[in-house]
């Protein structure tokens, strides 16, 4: 190969003064970086993905991991990433497969929005002693109520209400399938959401029977491959989500390689062991907004109109118009998945270049639905790159009803965002199906960590609301006046419908 070897991504070293040759790094690394030879530990830095499993379990803090130990000649255009992608494709002639969310240094809109707080005139509220209403209902709200006065003075509601999901905090966990993540990871998330009183998505991987105890907190997904979908599955879920697109890879399907289709994954997806699970780009029965309506209604009819149906789309140029179509399709919620959304595997070119930020998409969807007088027809769920409670508060101000978190919940279970989920070697037992690795993830302790995270964010959200003099999440929703743009350009501020700082 005339290109030769390329520099290490990470350089691993062990401080011999601190190391006691206990071998925990050897046991914990699932990528084959460490090897015990007599009393020595040999290091192969080339295999390192910086998942930090070794670091986290070294009892002596003896391990150091350095990123990009060898410099290329620096160049603003011909970055290291660009050059290495060319080397890779020159060698293989293939599509580059990558993991996690968008890895390009685009500006983060969330970080250029600031929140408001009360001073003097409108007093702030202390959530410690005042009730703060964070409970959220996902689903259709009637545009008007018809009431009938009864002779005894009581009032009867004539309007037929459609089913809503009640969540105790506007934070849910998005769809990560069994197959993409391990069963232990899914169980940990399920335990957490059921204790909190929120929901999680199954992804397009079916519903494993060990998740049945948590099914009333699960949103079952129907995607283009229809894996694991039958009437029992639809009836088990608290809601059904049609996945049209995904922020990490808008416009393309998914593909779970046969190596990851083990006996259990095969059983929940209802496909033979070892076969590729291919989710095509479009749904075969959806070629128009009318067809989407047909599937929404088909799912409602199958479950006797007892379940809310969500439609998830990737945030793209025309999200607002698409969402307006979805709002008229009988769907109960639209999920907008921004271009920073994570994934187990996506072509690098899609992950990094296709789609738009969730902040802009949610703001324009909310504005369009209000303009058309149909905002009450659907809830808006924002996902893709929600990193902290401030992001939750900001996206709600931009019009979202609730958020889905994905990567954040995985980080709460130890994920270091190394971005090599597609290798199936996750040392943390999250993005892998290897029994010896999955065993590392204890569902109970990890569920507590995920619960802690959501609990912490919920407390922060209540504090942020209190500081802004708001005691109900309803009053924060779409409340752009509580946001200001800091160093955002005029065009973007117009889309977001926020003023600049100082204005």
């Amino acid at each position: 190969m005339s290109i030769g070897s390329i520099p290490f991504k990470f350089k691993v070293s062990i401080d011999p003064d601190r190391c006691m040759s206990c071998g925990r790094c050897v046991e914990n690394c699932s990528y084959g970086v460490f090897k015990k030879e007599g009393d020595d530990i040999r290091i192969n830095s080339r295999n390192c993905v910086a998942c930090h499993r070794c670091l986290a379990f070294c009892p002596r803090d003896a391990i150091d991991i350095e990123e990009k130990p060898n410099d290329y000649r620096s160049h603003p255009l011909w970055t290291r990433e660009v050059r290495e992608a060319i080397f890779n494709q020159a060698k293989t002639g293939k599509i580059i497969l990558a993991g996690m969310g968008n890895a390009k240094p685009y500006p983060v809109i969330f970080d250029r929005l600031v929140l408001d707080a009360c001073q003097v005139t409108n007093p702030s509220i202390d959530p410690l002693r005042e009730p703060m209403e964070l409970r959220t209902y996902i689903g259709k709200k009637p545009s008007s109520l018809k009431l009938k006065q009864l002779p005894d003075g009581e009032v009867e509601l004539i309007t037929k209400l459609t089913p809503n999901l009640q969540i105790e905090t506007p934070i849910m966990i998005g769809h990560m399938s069994y197959g993409a993540i391990s069963l232990n990871a899914q169980i940990a998330l399920a335990k957490a959401v059921s204790r909190i009183g929120t929901f999680m998505g199954t992804g397009e991987g079916g519903l494993h029977e060990s998740l049945y105890p948590y099914q009333k907190n699960m949103i079952v997904q129907v995607a283009s491959g229809r894996f694991g979908v039958d009437i029992n599955y639809l009836e088990r879920g608290a809601a059904i989500e049609i996945k049209i697109g995904q922020g990490a890879k808008p416009g393309i399907g998914g593909h779970l390689p046969g190596e990851k289709v083990c006996a259990d994954v095969s059983c929940t997806r209802m496909i033979p062991e070892g076969s590729d699970a291919i989710s095509p780009a479009p749904h075969h029965d959806i070629y128009s907004i009318e067809d989407l309506k047909q599937l929404v209604r088909g799912l409602k009819e199958a479950t006797e109109w007892k379940k809310p149906v969500f439609v998830k789309i990737a945030a793209v140029h025309n999200s607002a118009a698409i969402a307006a179509g979805i709002a008229r399709s009988s769907a109960d919620a639209v999920v907008i998945d921004g271009f920073r959304g994570g994934t187990g595997a996506a072509p690098r070119v899609f992950r990094d270049h296709v789609g738009i930020p969730v902040e802009a998409a949610v703001a324009s969807v909310d504005a369009k639905l209000r303009q058309q007088g149909i905002r009450n027809e659907v809830s808006i769920i924002a996902s893709g790159g929600i990193r902290e409670s401030a992001d939750v508060a900001k996206i709600i101000c931009l019009g979202a009803d609730a958020v889905y978190i994905g990567t954040s919940a995985l980080v709460a279970m130890g994920c270091r965002v190394c971005g090599t989920c597609y290798q199936g070697n996750c040392a943390w037992g999250i993005a892998t199906q290897k029994p010896e690795l999955v065993r590392r993830l204890d569902p109970e302790t990890n569920s507590v960590q995920v619960e802690n995270l959501i609990h912490g964010w919920t407390l922060e959200l209540a504090e942020l609301m209190g500081a802004a003099g708001i005691n109900s999440i309803e009053s924060l929703r779409g409340n752009r006046d509580r946001l200001r743009g800091y160093m955002l350009d005029e065009g973007l501020m117009e889309v977001l419908d926020v003023k600049t700082v100082g204005a």
Partner: protein
């Protein structure tokens, strides 16, 4: 056997399905629906292995969607996607059907006496004992068996029609098989599909299915059983296996 008759004249699909469900809950095993005119989702998500639903008229799209158990007999044509993501049971159509017939079907059988539209049997899949079967008496249009992941699709070309005369057959197929009576022009095969003449063993495998199909429509199975068949199957079970390189 308890029989229930439902008049579907000017009846929306939701109350129609409610009547079907109520009849099954009351123990009906024979449900006859008259005056069906375009109602979608008939039998959607309905269970009942011993239930037969007779549809007199032309049902709308997604007939028997997610259905698990019953038999639906249609005296008329059907719109698109009968048997969509169906789990178990039978749909017998005395006429033709639209596009995406048996889309993502997981189990059970769909028999169409005459012709079907585009993308028939798309992404059918099988698992363990569940092996969906789609039999088409006449002809199928383009992209038959696209993305097929499992199951069996048979096209018979009865009454002198050419069973396959359009492109994209089995494009992206990675499981299951398509048997077509007579030869198939190589140029009509999609990417990832290959064809071979069906062996005697393969013909023996479809014999009971063809006999059952013929019985449903009062046909003589003999000429169908002596014909030659072409078998279309995946060129690879892993069509995307060599597409990617790791970052």
């Amino acid at each position: 056997m308890t029989t229930v008759r439902i008049d579907a004249h000017r009846l929306h699909y939701t109350p129609l399905n409610q009547k079907i469900r109520a009849a099954i809950a009351d123990g009906a095993t024979e449900i006859i629906i008259d005056n069906v005119l375009g109602q979608r989702f008939i039998g959607d998500g309905v269970r009942g292995d011993d239930v037969t639903i007779t549809v007199n008229g032309v049902p709308g799209g997604d007939l028997g969607m997610f259905m698990s158990g019953p038999t639906i007999i249609v005296h008329g044509n059907a719109d698109h996607a009968p048997g969509n993501t169906m789990d178990k049971g039978k749909i017998i159509i005395h006429g033709s059907a639209g596009d995406a017939v048996a889309h993502s079907m997981r189990g059970g059988r769909v028999y169409v006496r005459d012709n079907i539209g585009y993308r028939g049997g798309i992404h059918m899949k099988q698992y363990m004992e569940k092996r969906p079967i789609l039999v088409v008496g006449g002809a199928a249009r383009a992209f038959l068996g696209e993305y097929m992941a499992g199951g069996l699709l048979i096209v018979l070309g009865l009454n002198g029609v050419t069973p396959i005369s359009e492109r994209g057959v089995g494009s992206g197929i990675h499981g299951g098989e398509i048997l077509v009576r007579g030869p198939v022009d190589e140029q009509h095969l999609g990417v990832g599909a290959k064809q071979t003449p069906a062996t005697e063993e393969q013909k023996a495998m479809i014999k009971p299915i063809i006999e059952d199909f013929a019985k449903q429509f009062n046909l003589d199975p003999a000429p169908l059983l002596v014909s030659d068949y072409t078998r279309i199957s995946p060129a690879s079970a892993r069509p995307f296996a060599n597409k990617y390189t790791w970052e």
